[in-house]
């Protein structure tokens, strides 16, 4: 996945701060300090979760004895000795009930752990991400670039779907999906259809709107030139606009993947069998009516977020791969 197609690695990212001035150094340091301070704030939740995940249940809410010195207090907050066994325990404890089983490629597997949940979640998130990215850009292209009767009202209608709280459409939607005819894979219940198919049908107003804004900020001359060269509308979309909108596409991909990965309500409603559940549902195994195992909850939450963090770290350079590096004059 090396970027052999990117011609000029020396091109500075463009933007407000990036103009080439010699006073750069001072600014850079200021920026750096501001970023570090902000980072500490942003890291607070993760650090706290990390610390908590290595504690014993009893220490999670323990407070230092009165009149402790700073170092005593610090030592108190940091789990010594750490309890890394929380991690394997979190991975296996949830959902491990005798009698539960699932199958992978037809091979039955005894006991359900986070591994089962991970595979399910991965499938839903990958499909959701793929479907959303493809279909939302297709639809957005039509709204941004093509003339047709009723475009304005239809777009407003599209936005309107964002404004109805899901809490009230939940039950009608459930009834509809549950009664989906068999030739469409129905009933859409206790399988992945209700979680995956809608992503391929436009991917939601949010993503359509986002892509539309990006398409609209690309000069129209690009399309006209391509059309003179004999490009069809789809050609303009696929060959000209999509490559120019890579940062936006990446944004949509990241958002939709993350949204599907963390989604709780839809899996809760549509999935029944333990073998089909997702990670977000699995997390509730640590939370019950009578109390919770916070240290396991934290461990599991962190592990669940890890793939996304890594993906993001590796993929974030695509956000800054814009027009500048793809050669728009």
């Amino acid at each position: 996945m090396t970027d052999t197609t990117i011609p000029s690695p020396t091109a500075a990212p463009n933007g407000f701060w990036a103009s080439k001035r010699r006073t750069e150094n001072v600014t850079r340091w200021t920026v750096f300090v501001v970023l570090v301070v902000g980072s500490i704030t942003m890291l607070l939740p993760v650090v706290w979760m990390l610390i908590t995940s290595f504690k014993t249940r009893a220490d999670v809410f323990a407070v230092p004895p009165p009149n402790s010195t700073f170092f005593q207090t610090l030592k108190f907050w940091i789990p010594i000795p750490p309890h890394p066994e929380n991690y394997p325990q979190a991975w296996t404890v949830s959902g491990m009930y005798s009698g539960d089983s699932w199958s992978f490629f037809g091979i039955p597997v005894q006991g359900i752990t986070f591994t089962t949940y991970t595979l399910n979640t991965l499938f839903i998130a990958v499909c959701g991400c793929l479907g959303t990215t493809l279909s939302s850009s297709l639809v957005a292209f039509a709204f941004a670039r093509l003339r047709f009767p009723g475009r304005g009202p239809l777009f407003l209608l599209c936005l309107a779907t964002m404004m109805v709280p899901t809490q009230v459409t939940m039950i009608p939607t459930f009834i509809l999906f549950r009664n989906m005819p068999a030739f469409l894979g129905g009933p859409w219940y206790n399988n992945f259809f209700p979680l995956v198919v809608p992503a391929f049908l436009g991917g939601g107003a949010y993503n359509i709107f986002l892509m539309r804004q990006f398409f609209m900020s690309i000069p129209y001359e690009m399309d006209e030139a391509a059309k003179i060269d004999g490009c069809t509308n789809f050609g303009v979309f696929w060959r000209i606009l999509l490559p120019l909108c890579k940062p936006a596409l990446t944004t949509v991909a990241v958002f939709s993947f993350l949204w599907n990965w963390n989604d709780f309500l839809n899996p809760l409603i549509y999935l029944d069998s333990n073998s089909k559940k997702t990670l977000a549902l699995g997390l509730t195994n640590f939370v019950s009516l009578y109390g919770q195992d916070y240290q396991l909850l934290m461990a599991a939450s962190l592990v669940i977020s890890l793939p996304i963090i890594v993906m993001f770290l590796a993929g974030q350079r695509y956000f800054i791969q814009g027009i500048a590096t793809t050669g728009l004059k």
Binding site: F16, R151, T161, S217, P219, N262, L283, R317
Partner: protein, 302 residues
């Protein structure tokens, strides 16, 4: 309609077809059903009963909690959207730098959004906002010298619980940051070069090149932030155990809708939802109406 126009329209509907299926069947059906339910009484277990405008009458004339929820929601929106927007633009500008380790910074700023707003985060927030032993009041005490006993009581106080929610929402600047970052890449570097030749300093470049170039994205972010914060739910739900306390001070519209749903009042909660819908729709329509400040490089000419 000329044949070229017709061809373009047909092509447009081909592009739109997945969306149209979704819009008409998967989304449109349930929305219409919910709209119909807002004129009914339905407890799920028994047959639906048509009651005309009763739900709306009850809401407007006999339900102080509805007004309270509407007020709380508007309060939250007007406080959190402007500050949140400004913050995420600034962060995006900073992140658009060639600073060492910028990849890590970007990831760090997006981390809270990755972790979401589940139970795990709620526990942390409650600890941060605790009046007696929380981190926030500790910092306030250290930096301003206000004794802890006189610091705001945040989530336990009717006056400070909403500001606490607003402060919480700032940890989610990461999402906005990413969108702006993507938007910044679309501004042609030639424009900056031209501005520099004209002798514009950085500050002037920000106002004449960056912000106008970013305006479609800012517009997007403005609309979706307002839509999103009018529908704030998750944070409040986990922070207040679904109650919207203390004394209804964090009862927001969607939380109220959800409560009514849990109390088996499908019809009433649908009616609430449609009033909220009208409010959001109005806010959005106004923004489109006054969207002359948005500059599209590739606007479709009629």
């Amino acid at each position: 309609m000329t044949s070229a126009e017709r061809k373009e329209a047909i092509s447009a509907f081909m592009f739109l077809s997945p969306f149209l299926i979704w819009m008409v069947f998967l989304m449109g059906g349930p929305i219409l059903a919910a709209f119909f339910l807002s004129f009914c009484k339905w407890d799920i277990f028994n047959p639906i009963q048509f009651v005309g405008f009763d739900n709306y009458k009850e809401m407007f004339f006999n339900d102080p909690r509805f007004w309270k929820a509407l007020y709380n929601t508007a309060y939250f929106t007007f406080l959190s959207v402007p500050i949140g927007m400004a913050l995420s633009i600034v962060v995006a500008l900073l992140m658009n730098q060639k600073v060492k380790g910028i990849a890590i910074f970007r990831t760090i700023y997006y981390l809270p959004s990755i972790l979401g707003s589940g139970v795990a985060m709620a526990v942390l927030w409650k600890w941060i906002f605790n009046a007696d032993s929380g981190l926030l009041n500790y910092m306030l005490n250290v930096f301003t010298g206000i004794p802890i006993s006189e610091c705001p009581k945040w989530l336990a106080s009717e006056a400070w619980s909403k500001p606490a929610l607003v402060i919480m929402s700032f940890w989610n600047v990461g999402g906005g940051m990413i969108i702006y970052l993507a938007g910044l890449q679309g501004i042609p570097s030639t424009l900056y070069e031209a501005a520099e030749i004209d002798g514009a300093n950085r500050w002037q470049q920000l106002w004449t090149v960056t912000l106008p170039g970013l305006s479609p994205v800012i517009f997007f972010q403005l609309i979706v932030s307002i839509v999103g914060s009018f529908q704030i739910f998750n944070q409040v739900y986990v922070m207040t155990d679904g109650l919207g306390g203390p004394a209804d001070s964090t009862l927001v519209m969607v939380l109220y809708i959800y409560q009514k749903f849990k109390y088996f009042q499908m019809g009433y909660s649908s009616a609430l939802a449609f009033v909220l819908f009208i409010v959001i729709m109005l806010a959005t329509w106004l923004q489109f109406r006054f969207a002359k400040w948005v500059y599209y490089e590739g606007e479709l000419r009629k």
